[in-house]
């Protein structure tokens, strides 16, 4: 591959907004090497032997948390799980104090999920260890963005020139933002689709095409990334009814018939089956949803490996 001279120098992975196209390619290429590790009979390499990775999650998570935990174990790191519930956070300890105390036990990498945008960035400036953002509010979810890029590249052999629709609850979505940054840097055209209440025009300044009518673009896109409607974050005024949303923006079998024949359907999970995506599509031949999860492991191994031991 053509990035021999390019080297990774970042101690933290906080988002895709500030990564260069080359840096993104380094992560994807490194993930490619880690994907091979998962096919071996011994699915483990000693790259992070003697390191400690702590998952610090202030929000619920299935995929991301498990995936980071397994990724760290496959790199031979020791893994600690920290969750807000049952911790001293409920006694009023701040994020920074919590993190510094965990770090004082000899931690090398903190994987942080937090409901506040910018939490990972703040943390990275307050601790000496590496910080990997596993989702901060509606801001970024870089490893999800990277695994989506990886999955698209694996499927099409390239990213440049593809048309990618990201559909649904855009305004609340960190996945949409990370995807948007990454895809545009690698030369894809991003079309954001959703109702005006969940997709403000301001996204145009981030380089996306903003469309409020799914039908307008459905026949021209190569990839459809359906986002979860985040009911826990939505105010009622933004969202009149589930039925109306499904009718206008849900990916149904009927709507699929107007897509390109080889359209690739993605979803970051967890899915609201029957709301933004129908079960026939989610489990059908166009779906890459479980491939995304498989690739997520390799991408997270790459992220942990790359940020480890980079001096600040």
């Amino acid at each position: 591959m053509a990035h021999k001279t390019q080297r990774w120098t970042r101690k933290h992975l906080l988002g895709l907004e500030h990564l260069s196209a080359d840096e993104i390619r380094i992560v994807l290429d490194t993930a490619n090497s880690f994907k091979e590790v998962s096919t071996r009979s011994v699915k483990k390499v000693p790259a992070l032997r003697g390191h400690v990775v702590v998952n610090v999650f202030f929000e619920d998570s299935t995929r991301t948390r498990t995936s980071f935990g397994l990724a760290a174990q496959r790199l031979s790191a020791d893994v600690i799980d920290f969750s807000e519930k049952g911790s001293s956070v409920s006694k009023g300890e701040t994020l920074i104090d919590t993190a510094r105390n965990i770090e004082a036990m000899g931690i090398d990498i903190i994987v942080l999920r937090h409901p506040a945008a910018g939490a990972a960035d703040l943390l990275s400036r307050s601790v000496k260890c590496s910080v990997v953002n596993a989702g901060d509010g509606a801001h970024e979810h870089p490893t999800q963005g990277l695994l989506d890029l990886y999955t698209i590249r694996e499927r099409f052999g390239k990213i440049e020139g593809l048309k990618v629709a990201i559909v649904g609850d855009i305004v609340n979505s960190r996945v949409a933002r990370s995807n948007l940054w990454g895809l545009t840097k690698l030369g894809a055209e991003v079309i954001l689709v959703g109702p005006p209440t969940l997709l403000p025009r301001s996204f145009e300044t981030m380089g996306a095409r903003v469309v409020h009518n799914f039908e307008e673009v459905i026949g021209e896109v190569d990839v459809i990334n359906m986002l979860r409607v985040q009911f826990e974050r939505i105010k009622s005024s933004q969202f009149p009814s589930v039925r109306e949303f499904t009718h206008l923006f849900g990916l149904t079998s009927e709507r699929m018939q107007r897509c390109k024949k080889d359209v690739f359907v993605m979803h970051p999970g967890p899915m609201n089956r029957g709301i933004e995506i129908s079960s026939q599509i989610a489990d059908g031949p166009h779906s890459g949803i479980l491939t995304q999860v498989t690739n997520g492991l390799a991408v997270r191994m790459a992220a942990l490996y790359l940020v480890s031991h980079v001096s600040s």
Binding site: M1, R7, D29, N32, V42, A47, G50, H309, S311
Partner: protein, 178 residues
């Protein structure tokens, strides 16, 4: 000390190396040949072709990237790009020839041996190198050596170049780039 070897020298050295390897294994038996990226991979491919001409018909091939197994990963610094390891053959219970361009401290070979053990249990592992410059830091020796260059000064490198990726074939002993 000679510091320059050209294409015809390299062809001769690899041919002699193939001759030594051929004498140590039975042509009718399975032999897996695994090269260490990047130039060990190319040397392994050339040796494979020469061994096939010498009647070795059952050669399995593989490529090893040893980055994840290196013992200097923990030293801070930017990360080089890793490429996938490709060992699709079953390496259990057959002889395996490990191939690298230059053996020096022996640490790359140590990493490669660790990586191979994660793939299976070869009956024997032998090591072939184009050049041996001495300076071992581990108890590891090559079984088949093309050139023995034991007097290379510490501040010099042995740069092996192969036409597949470097435009031409040559071995040059030159001062380390700063």
């Amino acid at each position: 000390m000679r510091t320059q070897y050209d294409q015809s020298d390299i062809e001769r050295v690899i041919d002699q190396l193939a001759e030594k390897v051929a004498g140590a294994f039975a042509p009718g038996q399975t032999l897996n040949i695994v090269g260490i990226r990047t130039r060990g991979e190319i040397l392994a491919e050339r040796l494979t072709q020469m061994l096939r001409r010498r009647g070795f018909t059952r050669i399995g091939r593989g490529v090893l990237d040893i980055t994840f197994y290196r013992d200097d990963l923990s030293q801070a610094g930017p990360k080089p790009v890793v490429r996938p390891t490709q060992i699709e053959v079953d390496i259990d219970a057959c002889p395996l020839l490990l191939v690298d361009d230059v053996v020096f401290t022996g640490r790359s070979i140590r990493a490669a041996l660790d990586a191979l053990m994660d793939f299976g249990r070869p009956s024997v592992i032998r090591l072939a190198v184009l050049a041996d410059r001495g300076g071992r830091e581990l108890p590891i020796q090559a079984d088949f050596v093309g050139l023995a260059l034991k007097d290379v000064p510490a501040d010099h490198r042995i740069n092996v170049r192969f036409r597949e990726i470097d435009e031409k074939d040559e071995i040059v002993v030159e001062p380390r780039q700063p």
